[in-house]
């Protein structure tokens, strides 16, 4: 059978799909990853076969544009302004970016790029004729491909956020397009109401809302990108190990004031714990000199590290959060974006950690949260319970068999 994975331009959105793709390939099925050229190296590095034909939008730019929209609608919670969507510079006034003018001037080329991307998805679909399409919630190309091929489309969630979050959450993952957008390909409107099947890697007690779609549970098998496993990881740490990890693009999206790592480092440096921090080279340069007690790992696969940790502090990104959930590690999320906040709040409500809004969290507040999560056994117990909930779900290998059956193979 041929299975097309269609992915949006953010590796973290589709990394959770990688083990399912492995399962299908190792069962003798053919898999292609339809993506933008920006995702080609990451698809290849997971051992998968990229088809870099899409014209994906730059996610950092899209996020900044979204924040600008939110701010103009009065939905921006932070005491500073969002970054200029185009330049990424800090703004003194929202008027520095003229949203209406931007839309007027760029609708044609933005829409043109979208149409080219949809055309590319349609062309590949007609040539390759997939039997099944798996796509992340943002990949409308996946919905389109399945509609054209007249085969099932299955949405793969990347974390605790569902396809049908309530309106007041201000989080909507599945893109909406004007009516008639897909008439060119003889396909009716594509939106979240067209989603029929959702692969859900979350433990049952944190099941994200997916509307009327059929939920296909899967175990979250963490894949966080390539990396070696050093031998020191096998030696149990002398003191509880606390991992610090930060979003690789948080600063580019939410601005320099959202760079909380220095505060987090200061908060935990004097705890009776071994501190391990994984960060990008840019973020390491931005922090400057670090206390001797902090061990630095550049770009390290979190799934190798977290099973040895007693707690993790992160920005609320789905990859960090889900990897910690699967590993049964209590977590502290210091968040600067709506989706991350929603994720962190849900974990905290389940008792497996704490969520702090980044703009309100000072060094003392972060230290108190980490100390509590480390010290009170209830957090570790809740994290264990949730990890049990993850482990109880069918493996990607079992899900692959179910999908093949569903697609008539």
């Amino acid at each position: 059978m041929k299975v097309l994975f269609a992915v949006s331009s953010w590796a973290g959105h589709w990394f959770p799909m990688v083990p399912l793709a492995w399962a299908l390939q190792s069962a003798g099925h053919e898999v292609r990853v339809l993506c933008a050229p920006s995702q080609e190296p990451a698809a290849s590095a997971a051992g998968l076969t990229p088809v870099p034909a899409l014209h994906g939008m730059d996610m950092v730019f899209l996020s900044r544009l979204r924040y600008q929209w939110d701010a103009q609608a009065g939905n921006w919670p932070y005491p500073w302004l969002p970054l200029h969507p185009v330049t990424g510079e800090e703004m003194r006034s929202l008027d520095e970016f003229d949203f209406g003018r931007y839309v007027t001037e760029h609708t044609a080329d933005t829409f043109g790029a979208l149409v080219r991307s949809f055309d590319a998805a349609a062309a590949f679909t007609k040539a390759w004729r997939p039997d099944l399409v798996v796509h992340d919630p943002l990949s409308t190309e996946g919905q389109l491909a399945a509609a054209i091929a007249k085969v099932p489309a299955v949405v793969h969630l990347w974390g605790l956020t569902g396809t049908h979050e309530p309106p007041e959450s201000n989080v909507s993952l599945v893109p909406e397009y004007p009516p008639g957008t897909f008439a060119k390909w003889k396909v009716r409107d594509l939106n979240r109401d067209r989603v029929t099947h959702v692969i859900d890697p979350c433990p049952a007690e944190l099941a994200p809302p997916i509307g009327d779609a059929r939920r296909l549970p899967v175990r979250y098998v963490a894949y966080n990108g390539p990396g070696e496993s050093p031998t020191w990881l096998l030696d149990p740490p002398a003191r509880p190990r606390v991992c610090l990890v930060w979003g690789t693009s948080t600063t580019a999206m939410s601005g320099p004031r959202s760079f909380a790592l220095p505060r987090i480092v200061e908060a935990v440096a004097d705890l009776d714990a071994e501190i391990v921090m994984t960060a990008t080279a840019e973020d390491l340069a931005r922090i400057g000199p670090l206390p001797d007690s902090v061990r630095v790992l550049e770009r390290f696969p979190l799934n190798l590290l977290l099973p040895t940790c007693s707690a993790v502090v992160h920005h609320g990104g789905a990859g960090c959060l889900m990897t910690a959930l699967a590993a049964g590690v209590p977590q502290v999320a210091v968040t600067y974006a709506i989706e991350q906040e929603l994720n962190g709040v849900r974990v905290a409500a389940a008792g497996a950690g704490a969520q702090l809004r980044g703009d309100l969290a000072d060094v003392d507040g972060i230290r108190a949260a980490v100390t509590e999560v480390l010290g009170k056994p209830g957090y570790a117990e809740a994290a264990d319970r949730l990890a049990g909930g993850v482990a109880a779900r069918p493996s990607p290998a079992e899900l692959a068999e179910q999908l093949v059956e569903m697609a008539g193979g």
Partner: protein, 403 residues
């Protein structure tokens, strides 16, 4: 469960293990791939997790030294001299310090293989794998499994087994340093490899001394996407040539110009995946030759009618599972054996690389394209290969074996 893979120094030796690694990961098991440091990047780009702790035997040096040894014993088959193990230049046997090179080879094997053995055992003692999978030249994994008392499964990469009797084949490593004895486990013999993963079709099942575990060959040929090839209006022939042929056997073992010249006499389209530098060295190419960037072979084969290659196991097995007839022009003893054995099924033609000419290559490819027998034999082999349990199916067997 935890599954430790150990792999040796050529990617082609362990590429066939990759889909099994994916299958285990996708079934929720933990997989680590202990490897020589030089293999770490290639392992990482499969999506699996490398642990770069094993010894580095320097396969190029060892292969060239083995050729030199053959030349001294009078069994070097080619009309040109073997390469110097260090420089890679044609060796002058009259002035070469053979004893010095033999000492180097011996020291390297002693130091590196012992380092790898100790590292594998050390890692396994801490990580406590439930089962070990190793390629047949990576005895590190076997030793670790024997020391821990867990099962080990040897993986074959083609139709050369663990219990070969042909003297020129090198089926399993020799424990020169008596490391197996030092750890107090059974000696490193074909019988010690008690379970053998065999991706070959039944007609080619090579000799093994343990339980054969058939597995479907799911091709993984390194990272990359498929070339976007328009449909051909003539039969398409894919030509694949490994650069390591020239590096091991000399520049005369680069047969691409001869193959291209031979194919230009036929009414065929040629696809030639190659590095840019190699293509530039070919000079002007005849019309009908389409040069592609390096791409995983299995992605190029749909739409092809036949494949011409150097007898490498990866090419042979990938072509076989795609159901295509193939011409092999081998250099080296393992490639000779692969070509000879495949030719025995009727699905391939074997022409010794150093004897192949424009005429003989052209005639061989014409037969593969025109006669139904090779095509039918190739299809039958592919059907047999696809009937074997997939790597995904094999996971349950490994779990059972691990108890």
């Amino acid at each position: 469960m935890r599954v430790l893979f150990t792999v040796s120094g050529w990617p082609a030796h362990w590429f066939p293990m990759v889909p099994l690694g994916w299958a285990l990961g996708a079934a929720g098991h933990e997989v680590r791939v202990a490897c020589p440091p030089a293999q770490a990047a290639a392992v990482a780009s499969t999506g699996l997790t490398p642990v770069p702790i094993l010894g580095d035997l320097d396969m190029a040096f060892q292969s060239r030294f083995a050729n030199l040894w053959a030349a001294r014993a009078g069994t070097w088959p080619y009309p040109w001299p073997p390469l110097h193990p260090v420089t890679g230049e044609p060796a002058d046997l009259s002035t070469l310090d053979f004893e010095e090179l033999a000492g180097q080879a011996k020291r390297r094997v002693a130091v590196e293989s012992r380092r790898g053995f100790d590292a594998a055992v050390g890692y396994a003692r801490k990580w406590r794998p439930n089962i070990v999978v190793h390629d047949r030249l990576s005895a590190d994994g076997l030793l670790a499994a024997l020391v821990l008392g867990v099962p080990a499964v040897a993986s074959l990469w083609g139709p050369v087994g663990t219990a070969e009797t042909e003297p020129q084949l090198y089926p399993i490593p020799v424990d020169y340093t008596n490391t197996f004895g030092r750890y107090g486990v059974r000696p490193l013999t074909p019988e010690a490899m008690a379970h053998v993963l065999d991706p070959c079709p039944p007609a080619l099942a090579p000799p093994v001394a343990g339980t054969r575990m058939p597995v479907r060959y799911v091709p993984y040929n390194g990272p990359g996407g498929a070339a976007d090839l328009p449909p051909a209006d003539r039969p398409r022939v894919c030509v694949v040539w490994s650069n390591s042929m020239s590096r091991m056997y000399g520049s005369a073992a680069y047969l691409v110009p001869t193959i291209v010249a031979a194919l230009s006499t036929l009414d065929v389209e040629v696809v030639l995946p190659a590095h840019r530098d190699d293509v530039a060295a070919l000079g002007p190419l005849p019309p009908g030759v389409r040069v592609l960037d390096q791409a995983p072979l299995h992605l190029l084969l749909p739409g092809c009618a036949a494949v011409v290659h150097h007898g490498g196991a990866g090419c042979a097995m990938t072509t076989a599972v795609a159901g295509l007839p193939q011409l092999m022009l081998p250099f080296g003893e393992e490639q000779d054996a692969i070509a000879r054995r495949f030719a025995g099924t009727g699905a391939a033609t074997n022409l010794a690389g150093h004897l192949a000419t424009v005429d003989s290559i052209g005639a061989a490819v014409r037969d593969l394209l025109d006669k139904p027998a090779p095509r039918d034999a190739a299809r039958q082999i592919a059907d047999e290969m696809r009937a074997a349990p997939t790597p995904a199916r094999l996971v349950a067997d490994l779990v059972a074996l691990a108890g």
